[in-house]
Symmetry: C2
Subunit: 485 residues, 2 copies
């Protein structure tokens, strides 16, 4: 039986793939890349000289420097022959050499080029567990740690484990980081939306969780898990401890797995807010390993380190029975292991230099320099957004984003409809074409129907922020003038 | 509605996960790890002093040293500040410094810590495409390259794209590397087996492909793709050019995607054999991008480099239309990008030092030392297996494995049944417990029913091979004596 059609067409692909959307790298990024090429091949052809990327949480692409100590250790582990050379003592800090030796000794045969245990190198998991204990004040078990290539593969793995069919639902915040909607679509489950309350600073309300859970159950959906992103992406809020306790009790009562995206745990800017891990909250409520199935995701891509390209991260998995855990291990083992540099970096992030270490002062100054600058950028951009006609913007208490709401004139909404775009996507494309500023439309994250937003990172270099604000302000004024009802 | 049962039990996990099996890291490895611990905590408690791992293609875990040039470049890219230091010229080869500078210049802002383009850094894809052209003598397009965290995620991605339901089938060799069966199970498709002919050195026969394809179609299975592993895993054969042409024509005629696992392309030991990529075969037959959808997988984990822990690799994707390729890109983008060190290493593997470079002689000597030693180990083990009662072993023409057949006495098969194990799994566990030698039972790879095999890597250090052979020979003799019918 010979085929005349091509063997693979859109129609013959897995329909789950077709359904999946991922706005952070969607149309807006393709247009930006095209404009960037135009600027290179034909300088002066556009009304701006450079593209200003405010679309993705990728700090080092915008000039943020890596933490020196982390990179020293990585270089020594990549090329351990350096450790035998005299010159190395001049080139590397004493504690980076000591740490590299310790890490190498944790690997059988010092083999940084070997597959590790499928959960990650045991010694690195010990270090991470100790870091979690120091953070939370409660014990952590290295056997609960699964090292991953960034947080995303961990999220995919949990969706793969939990979703059996479209009758299985996952409760996700709206707005959400679209990894969740994409992963749920790819695994054929149902996204069950709960809305964050913009009026209370993107508050997560238990009454809303209950309402959406009941509504889903009435449609025959078996809700398996609740996703909480804290600090929030794209919304930037940091949950209050009391709120977290309510969430834990809700999951316990309703039999839900709590999927806690805690990748922004080091990114808290509001002086009255503090990050508390859900694991700490559970333990402080007296709940042990039997009470609440909880997965906490951490990544080397965020925080002050921003090592996105290293693809490192881990999940801490507690509250599942032995047999279920065996299945987690099996799925991890099909992918062999996370990359070793990412594994090492995950251990460094959870155990940075300490007082008395040669690198400590430099580390502290690099870390605080980045975090303080991020806080300043967040505040400057927030104020700028709030000064625009029809725009309101909640504070970024944490994470790396602002998510302002725009009340768009009816004429602009109509123009967007004619261009077959969501109104905020239309706004974002107009903004990009006019100014080179790249933001992601709110429709890519989900929002209350009829409201319009965009996500703007706080990551461009501090000396670019004035240009972003003035370009955006000029554009916005003209846009509103053009479309005002 | 409160739950009293735990929210997640084996019964409430995705049944596709439960079905998936991955023998390479299965029971035998757990037992080996347990024995290893026993040896550490209680030396002298076992009839052997060390575990000899012959179960997994993980060369550096067994003492193989990384290629110096590769690691120099990685270290410099991880810590580019080294490039500004005088001492660096004494510590690193001139061409590693030059290469690192070139690679850094290919990254916007020299940011090795940033997410890259979802297909990988463009400059590295250019280098890889040039390497493919040099290998094949036919053009390669950097836009066809998708960099991946090792070959496995690429295979998973293709299964995710192609498999819609259990009615979609993938033709896989038997014996096969169990990544394929595991990935097909996880994505809910049907494994359509075709048997390699052990009697002709694991020959891949078109008549067998046709027979199995027709049988599957008669059951209502839509066969989407053909997997070919060349050089073979676990079987070690290297396909002849004429055979490859037949396979290409078969795929073309039957409308199948050709999934070419070519990760062992640098591992060819038989002097009369040569690796030919399927892309080269297609182009040499006059088939262009419109004729045969082809995905070629390459990895940094195998070859002479054996950099498993770095999780680098790529797939070269040709013969799909634009719209379908857009979907590949979308799925890649949901995972952001492959880790940058792995990306860099993939480019180095496809473009190692050349004549005249400072590192060339050292590189050549390291590479050839490894490959020549692997060839010797393969031959020594092959001869040893063939000298055992009831054992026949095909030559390892390539890859890293031998896959001997054992004719087991009926009594042994009965003992295995009583132990609720496949007969070769029983043999492998007895071997491990008696000698510390770890091999993977043939039943984990698939085999003609009623035949029994095991997979033994050729990777243990050359000075361990005599111990492996003598322990295995002693064990085998006793085992056969014990169970002889």
């Amino acid at each position: 039986m010979a085929n005349s059609k091509p063997p693979v067409t859109l129609e013959s692909l897995n329909p789950k793939v077709l359904e999946c959307e991922y706005a952070v790298r969607g149309e807006i990024v393709s247009v930006a890349q095209k404009l960037q090429q135009d600027l290179q091949t034909n300088p002066g052809s556009l009304p701006f000289q450079e593209i200003l990327y405010c679309n993705i949480g990728n700090p080092q692409s915008l000039g943020q420097k890596p933490i020196t100590f982390f990179r020293e250790v990585l270089a020594l582990c990549d090329h351990p022959a350096l450790l035998d050379k005299r010159e190395t003592n001049n080139l590397f800090s004493a504690d980076s050499i000591k740490r590299a030796l310790m890490i190498l000794d944790q690997m059988p045969g010092r083999a940084t080029g070997a597959y590790s245990h499928s959960q990650g190198i045991k010694g690195l998991r010990d270090t991470i567990a100790a870091g979690i204990e120091a953070r939370d004040g409660f014990p952590a078990d290295p056997n609960d740690i699964f090292l991953t290539d960034g947080a995303s593969p961990g999220v995919h793995m949990m969706m793969q484990l939990l979703i059996r069919s479209e009758n299985d639902g996952i409760l996700c915040p709206i707005p959400q980081y679209p990894l969740y909607s994409a992963s749920i679509a790819l695994h054929g489950g149902t996204l069950v939306r709960y809305y964050l309350n913009e009026a209370t600073g993107w508050g997560l309300e238990i009454s809303e969780l209950k309402r959406q859970l009941e509504a889903a159950r009435q449609k025959g959906i078996v809700v398996r898990a609740l996703v909480v992103i804290n600090p929030g992406n794209p919304t930037g809020q940091v949950l209050a401890e009391e709120n977290q306790r309510q969430i834990v009790d809700f999951c316990k009562k309703e039999g839900l797995v709590l999927l806690a995206d805690e990748v922004y745990q080091d990114n808290v800017y509001a002086p009255d807010k503090k990050f508390h891990s859900f694991k700490k909250i559970c333990r402080s409520m007296g709940y042990g390993d039997k009470n609440v199935p909880l997965v906490s995701f951490q990544s080397v891509s965020k925080g002050y380190h921003g090592e996105c390209g290293k693809r490192g991260g881990y999940m801490e998995v507690t509250g599942f029975g032995f047999e279920v855990r065996e299945q987690f291990y099996k799925v991890a083992s099909v992918n062999l292991c996370a990359n070793i540099s990412g594994q090492i970096l995950a251990s460094l992030v959870m155990s940075p230099p300490k007082v008395g270490d040669e690198s400590y002062d430099a580390y502290l100054s690099e870390r605080d320099g980045i975090l303080e600058s991020l806080a300043r950028r967040a505040k400057t951009l927030e104020d700028a957004f709030n000064s625009l006609e029809g725009v309101t913007c909640n504070k970024a208490e944490g994470a790396m984003y602002l998510f302002p709401q725009i009340i768009l004139p009816k004429k602009a909404i109509k123009a967007a409809e004619e261009a077959k775009k969501a109104a905020d996507a239309y706004y974002a494309i107009c903004l990009l074409n006019a100014t080179g500023v790249v933001v992601v439309p709110g429709s890519g994250f989900g929002q209350v129907p009829g409201t319009w937003h965009f996500r703007c990172t706080i990551l461009p270099h501090e000396n670019k922020i004035p240009a972003i604000i003035s370009r955006l302000t000029n554009f916005h004024t003209k846009f509103m003038d053009e479309f005002r009802d």
